[in-house]
Symmetry: C2
Subunit: 220 residues, 2 copies
DNA sequence: TCCATTTGTCAACACCTGTTTACTAAACTT
DNA sequence: AAGTTTAGTAAACAGGTGTTGACAAATGGA
């Protein structure tokens, strides 16, 4: 009798580990790609992700136990690129004159480079499933703390308590978050719109910093 | 032969219009209710919403042409309660001493009262389908403008351009939005946690307002 | 060289999805 | 009192969903 299964298995790429991590990446990328448009993470279907990664649905389980597990990996990945972004931003020496504007410009540039990761975070930050949302919130908290200690090192923050520094850092994070979401909803070719966003965010941050500089903790 | 359809149609409530708007409400409420937990709007299924409203799936179409149409109604409803909330807040005369804190307290109180509407907006603001997201963004813009003209009427904002007033209003909206989302993720019985949120938000807003008061437009 | 491991395929499963059709009975209209 | 409108039902449809189990073939190690 003829073999019940016709000759299967894709072309024989290099080593086994490499092939495995290749399709794993393909699955992750397929998921990110499908979230480019309307879909949130919970709208994705395992079958479509698998198909778009060039693999049969059942193969998905060789890499992730469930869709949500894949989601958690995306959280980690996305915040890894965010941290890398911040590290780059910190090591780049900027003119002290327009620090704020240049920082915003640079940061939003990174956002456009790593569009899909930032888009993922933006979409799942409030809308996602509880475990994913909590993971994101935790990362944002951490990130805010780091920013607060950065602020503590900058001159003129002597009179501000560390608690208030955290609140100020929160304001900054929040402001930049909105800018990020606006950028993600803007055609990258529309330079005027991007400039407008940078401009507005720069001004908002300077207003916040102005407030911080006249703020004296505790004393009302 | 026996009738192919057993005696149908629910108990004979009042007038026809009233019965109609009753089930219409039931559908809207069912949708909101199902979004209490994990689900975003796009996770809802017409069938489940109908069932939970005590009606057969096909009956849904007597009230809305599609799920998305129902979603748009929810946007309208939700912002109607937001506007009502702001109207109440404006007409309530508050002690000039702790205006900010009292406003925050009151607003977040309304958020808890109309939990489901605010939860809907929070979830769909960034995650939702494009038409819904755009509708929400438009409403937030409008809302920010109103706040900006409010600010223009308060003393000490003489030197600030109307464009910058809008940016300041944006900061305030953004800050209160985050507070709203935190409240929605907090057990309403946990008074300490709520107080903490009110406290932090109050301080953040006062920092922003301090920044605004020393801000002079145009001149760097 | 032979055997074990592993990454993938195929096929079937039980179920849930939105939508359409034909039908009913209560509520309104005349 | 007779006729029309309408909010609702029941049943079927074509198709998509996650998950499972048995099998294949290439890779890696003995």
């Amino acid at each position: 009798m003829p073999p019940r299964h016709p000759p299967s298995n894709a072309r024989p790429g290099r080593s086994r580990d490499e092939r495995k991590s290749r399709t794993r990446r393909a699955l992750l990328d397929a998921a990110l790609e499908q979230m480019r448009g309307e879909h949130g993470f919970s709208d994705l279907s395992l079958r479509e992700v698998a198909k778009s990664a060039g693999v049969v649905p059942a193969a998905f389980y060789r890499h992730f136990p469930s869709m949500e597990a894949l989601g958690m990996v995306l959280v980690d990945e996305s915040f890894a690129t965010l941290r890398q972004t911040m590290r780059n931003l910190r090591t780049t020496r900027l003119p002290t004159k327009h620090v704020v504007r240049k920082s915003v410009e640079t940061f939003l540039g990174y956002v456009q480079e790593h569009e899909l990761h930032f888009r993922f975070i933006a979409k799942e930050r409030y809308g996602g499933s509880t475990p994913i949302r909590m993971a994101i919130r935790q990362e944002v908290r951490l990130f805010t703390s780091e920013l607060a200690t950065d602020l503590a090192r900058t001159p003129g923050t002597g009179k501000v308590s560390s608690g208030d520094l955290r609140l100020i850092a929160g304001l900054i994070v929040q402001t930049v978050s909105l800018a990020t979401e606006l950028v993600l909803d803007t055609d990258p070719g529309d330079l005027d719109a991007i400039t407008q966003i940078v401009d507005d965010t720069d001004r908002q941050l300077r207003i916040v910093l102005a407030g911080a500089s006249v703020w004296k903790s505790e004393g009302e």
